[in-house]
Amino acid sequence: MAEITLPESIRDVEPVRSVRTPAQLDYEFTAGDATTRFLTGITNKRIIGQQAPGGRVYVPPRGADPELGQPTPIDVEVAQVGTVTSFCVVNLQFYGSVMEIPYVSALILLDGADLSIMHLIQEVPADQVRIGMRVEGVWRDDADIEPTLESIRYFRPTGEPDDPHVRIPGEGHGTGLGSWVGGVAPTEAVIRNPRTGLGGNPEGASV
């Protein structure tokens, strides 16, 4: 490390080791078209997925079908029940969190949707939550419904039998799409190209 020679006049001054500068920046975010349509549906206690022509049903929508790279103008209402495709039990309080720990955060594939949403599971002990479990949404009181996914307080078991064959992308191919089966790397052909329709399994759908 290079030696720094200070001028005589400041040689006895205590060096500054750090500077604490609080910073605040305010942002006003735009929901955009897709999110606005989705959240409007929420205020009517409906869960509206969105679809590009020829694409999958996305909940919550993000503005573009990420496989096609196209907008999602078609509204598709999905059910308020679905199947748990994965989950974890959170034991950690973090900055800004209002959740009481432990809580279950789960990926839920709503009937009619093609992508799982992330939400809470309650009204069941954490150690009884399972992949394949059928759950239904529980809304806030009508007076408290706002344009946010938090208007659904959580999901709880419906009591129906589990769906052990719930569609989880990638599970048909080894332990996932990125598996090397027989020491052979997968290629793009293991999935269906959404624009050309080429690839994927013989039935034309991906795993």
Binding site: V19, Y27, T30, D33, G63, P66, G69, I191
Partner: protein, 351 residues
């Protein structure tokens, strides 16, 4: 050097607030437009590179969600820079030089409207010596303008002329945000915003997106009649601290221009990324442009200044004029950091 050309360029209408769309919705028309112009899809693209910044979006990892606009499925070769899209284009150009791919898609976008842009940009400074003062971008530019006036190299009337000429030229640009025909005298009659800069000397705050498709050699020739070939490409940086530089010259632009070979031929058109009017004069000098060069026919950054995007737009605007036959050789410039700290120069030419 491998022949690589700009073969298409698309931008969204540049506006103060794109209120009804989020970033990915705003970006899609630019990406789709650039691809459609040359009848290509993402499947025809060898490499994708983008420029954007988290602090503008107010979100960490903000570029991750906008990648959806491209439809990266099957998985693609892609990278991202926290810089203006002009530098993303540089990265794509470098990759094409290597020779393993022949096409690239470059895009950039910014929504400056969610935050307070001059305040956001004050976070782009040395956090110990500059940041705590919260100097806004206009004030910093004004320091440079004052230095330029004091040096005798320019007058306020010169600034006003740049401001007036830019907005007048923008009348011919359907995507420009600010466009009007007012004489320089009107600009001089304005009150100072931050002396010696007047409001008209300053750029607008803009939401917008742009995209460019690059192709090499015969692939470019097969796609368009007049590819805009990149003949020289360089970028340089200076220290951020204003006191360490001569603010009246752009040393990094001068070095980049020399390395890019700007002087190797006549420059018919120059698109200079100068958010403040006085900066156009500084960059013009550094590029050593002759009197015959048409400067900022698009209106430049004074007409539309989407952050992280305006530099890429400069390259696109030069490419457009070469593609139309209007110009044979042109220079595009992009800048980053306070008071022209970092500069990029791209020389483009028709066949």
């Amino acid at each position: 050097m491998r022949d690589v050309a700009v073969i298409s360029f698309a931008q969204t209408p540049m506006r103060r607030r794109v209120e009804e769309l989020n970033e990915v919705e705003m970006l899609m028309p630019a990406v789709h437009g650039a691809l459609r112009q040359v009848d290509m899809t993402i499947d025809d693209i060898g490499f994708t590179c983008s420029g954007s910044t988290d602090y503008l979006a107010g979100m960490a990892f903000s570029f991750v969600s906008t990648l959806d606009a491209v439809g990266p499925w099957p998985p693609i070769q892609e990278s991202h820079v926290e810089m203006d899209g002009a530098w993303a284009l540089y990265e794509a150009w470098v990759k094409l030089q290597i020779g393993e791919i022949d096409t690239a898609l470059v895009y950039a976008y910014a929504k400056s409207s969610p935050g307070d842009l001059p305040m956001v940009l004050s976070r782009q400074l040395d956090p110990i010596t500059m940041g705590p003062l919260w100097p806004d971008s206009v004030s910093l530019a004004a320091l440079q303008a004052r230095a330029l006036l004091d040096s005798g190299k320019a007058t306020e009337a010169d600034f006003a002329e740049v401001a007036a000429r830019s907005r007048r030229a923008a009348l011919a640009n359907p995507n420009a945000q600010l466009a009007w025909d007012c004489p320089a005298a009107d600009v001089l009659a304005e009150d100072y915003l931050v002396a010696p800069l007047r409001r008209s000397d300053c750029p607008p705050i803009t939401d917008g997106a742009a995209a460019i498709v690059l192709a090499a050699g015969d692939v470019a020739r097969s796609k368009v009649e007049r590819p805009a070939w990149i003949r020289g490409f360089d970028h340089r940086i200076e220290p951020i601290h204003l006191g360490l530089r001569d603010l009246t010259v752009s040393e990094s632009t001068r070095i980049a221009a020399e390395a890019a070979g700007v002087a190797d031929g006549p420059v018919d058109v120059a698109e200079i990324h100068a958010p403040f009017s006085h900066q156009e004069l500084i960059v013009r000098d550094a590029l050593v442009l002759g009197a015959d060069t048409s400067i900022n026919p698009s209106g430049g950054a004074l007409a539309a200044n989407a952050m992280m995007t305006a530099g890429l737009v400069r390259i696109g605007e030069v490419a457009n004029r070469i593609a139309s036959g209007e110009a044979r050789r042109g220079v595009a410039h992009a800048t980053s950091g306070p008071c022209l700290q970092q500069n990029l120069v791209c020389v483009l030419e028709g066949e």
